[in-house]
């Protein structure tokens, strides 16, 4: 059989790659196969295949019985079974929809399920505000306990102002 690309040399490599979820098989000579590989298009390694391997591992665990209870994301229509097959999620809502099942996968992948890095400015400000509110509420309780009503009133106003934000 001749190489399907150059049609000159004998094909001795069975080349498979996934293009848009479609498996494409080709019989190539060694040189063309190398060039295909070097062009940087989908190398034979597949992260999602590897991933779905990890995720299916969760399948056998007794606490997740998927056959009887598949969840579907309301926003994008992705089902948990579909996710396990392709290893990718459909939208940000999926993370909430698949909750605990996803959390155990994330722990397995990263050894952690708590973000520790940067956050968008808007988010970090709102987190700062909610922490400040928590702090002031504690002071307010303290003030009421000590019958410092003037101080309590002032704290209450400050909390109200922050809550508006």
């Amino acid at each position: 059989m001749l190489c399907q690309k150059c049609h000159k040399r004998i094909a001795n490599v069975h080349f498979t790659r996934v293009v848009n979820n479609q498996k494409v098989e080709m019989f190539l000579c060694e040189q063309c196969a190398n060039e295909e590989g070097q062009m940087g298009f989908e190398a034979p390694l597949s992260v999602s295949e590897f991933l779905s391997g990890i995720m299916n591992f969760g399948n056998s665990a007794p606490y997740v019985n998927l056959a009887s209870s598949d969840i579907v994301c309301e926003k994008c229509g992705m089902s948990f079974q579909e996710f396990q097959k392709i290893g990718k999620l459909g939208c940000s809502q999926c993370y909430r929809t698949f909750g605990e099942r996803l959390k155990s996968i994330l722990k397995r992948l990263h050894g952690s399920a708590q973000h520790n890095g940067r956050m968008p400015k808007k988010v970090s400000e709102s987190i700062k505000i909610s922490r400040e509110i928590e702090r002031l509420k504690e002071l307010l309780n303290e003030a009421i306990k000590n019958e410092e009503y003037e101080k309590a009133a002032e704290l209450r106003d400050r909390i109200r102002n922050l809550e508006v934000k």
Partner: protein, 343 residues
């Protein structure tokens, strides 16, 4: 030719380039795989406008619509590491914003809505991270990112969640490969959650002793921790590589000089060069330049040649599609021109 590859970087005898990328998504739209055409177009427009409507950024960036590009031009961008292979093959409304110095590229509608990537020559991971953070901050002013207090930045693939950050360095490791010690490095890396890949894909032998080292864990560590992990591992690998180069030379100077100079002779005199052979020869020449065996050639020049001889870029500068044989002839011609060989 502009671009990071014509600048000299620190530790450039081993480290070719440092790269950081952030994966980001819009909160309001599904990820690209589940988007409608209209949603895809909205994302594309929003990102383009966020950059091009900013007076200081607009001067510095060029927007490219991937759908409008020929396959050869797409492939050339992949070879320049400015877009990913996935984006090049994309059938969606996708695009890329590239800075004039080619250090920043913002890919739109790849696997995630946004992939911000910064690349520097040599060992400059911190610089790449700083620049990524700056670009991220600029985009954040106009875009509401999908973000969760617990999980951080939400991404299409759970392997990118959290920081959405991938830090990678491209290393030239001929001595480790020649002596076989590279196996130990690969094994050690895989045990501590560090991925090692060849220049393009898995076949490391064929890609001229080039290895790409990157983090796999993206959730639970800060961006700085991820970068410093990669830096620590890289500096250890650099040390091993350098000491092995010295040992190889001291053991038998003639043998190493012979190997390097033979390759140099072939590289600068051949009339037909396949890309596999040229990457192999280029690796030997690079080693010779780094060790002072070959004089008068800079590492930047070799970086430039490495790019010019890739199949896509080769056809781009020729201005027409070439058959594999024509490419091999053209490749040899470029190498001879660039290295100033008059024969």
């Amino acid at each position: 030719m502009p671009g990071w590859y014509v600048e000299d970087g620190p530790e450039s005898d081993v480290v070719v380039s440092s790269r950081v990328r952030f994966a980001r998504n819009f909160e309001e739209y599904p990820f690209p795989s589940k988007m409608t055409r209209e949603q895809g177009q909205s994302v594309l427009n929003a990102v383009r406008d966020a950059v091009l409507n900013n007076s200081s950024a607009a001067k510095n960036f060029v927007f490219i619509d991937i759908q409008q590009m020929s396959p050869i031009d797409r492939q050339a961008l992949v070879e320049m590491h400015l877009i990913s292979p996935d984006l090049a093959e994309s059938q969606k409304q996708s695009g890329v914003l590239i800075s004039k110095d080619e250090k920043i590229s913002i890919m739109i509608n790849e696997e995630d809505h946004l992939r911000i990537q910064c690349i520097y020559p040599g060992m400059q991971l911190d610089q790449a991270l700083d620049l990524c953070i700056k670009v991220d901050g600029l985009l954040e002013e106009n875009i509401r990112y999908a973000f969760d207090d617990k999980y951080g930045y939400l991404t299409c693939c759970p392997t990118n969640i959290g920081t959405g950050m991938r830090a990678s360095v491209m290393l030239h490791l001929p001595a480790l490969t020649m002596t076989g010690y590279i196996r130990n490095i690969l094994d050690a890396c895989s045990k501590i959650g560090i991925a090692v890949r060849g220049l393009y894909g898995e076949n490391s032998e064929a890609s001229g002793n080039m290895f790409q080292i990157s983090n796999q864990v993206t959730l639970g560590q800060s961006e700085e921790e991820i970068a410093s992990n990669i830096k620590n591992i890289t500096s250890q690998i650099i040390e091993h590589e350098r000491s092995l180069r010295d040992q190889l030379y001291k053991q038998n100077p003639y043998r190493l000089e012979d190997k390097v100079l033979r390759s140099f002779g072939l590289f600068t005199n051949a009339r037909i060069l396949s890309s596999e052979e040229s990457l192999k020869l280029l690796s030997d020449v690079r080693l010779g330049v780094n060790m002072g065996i070959i004089k008068g050639i800079s590492t930047e020049k070799l970086n430039e040649i490495m790019l010019l001889i890739q199949p896509g870029y080769l056809q781009k500068i020729t201005g027409k599609p070439l058959s594999p044989e024509e490419r091999d002839i053209k490749r040899a011609e470029i190498v001879r021109n660039k290295l100033g060989c008059s024969i």
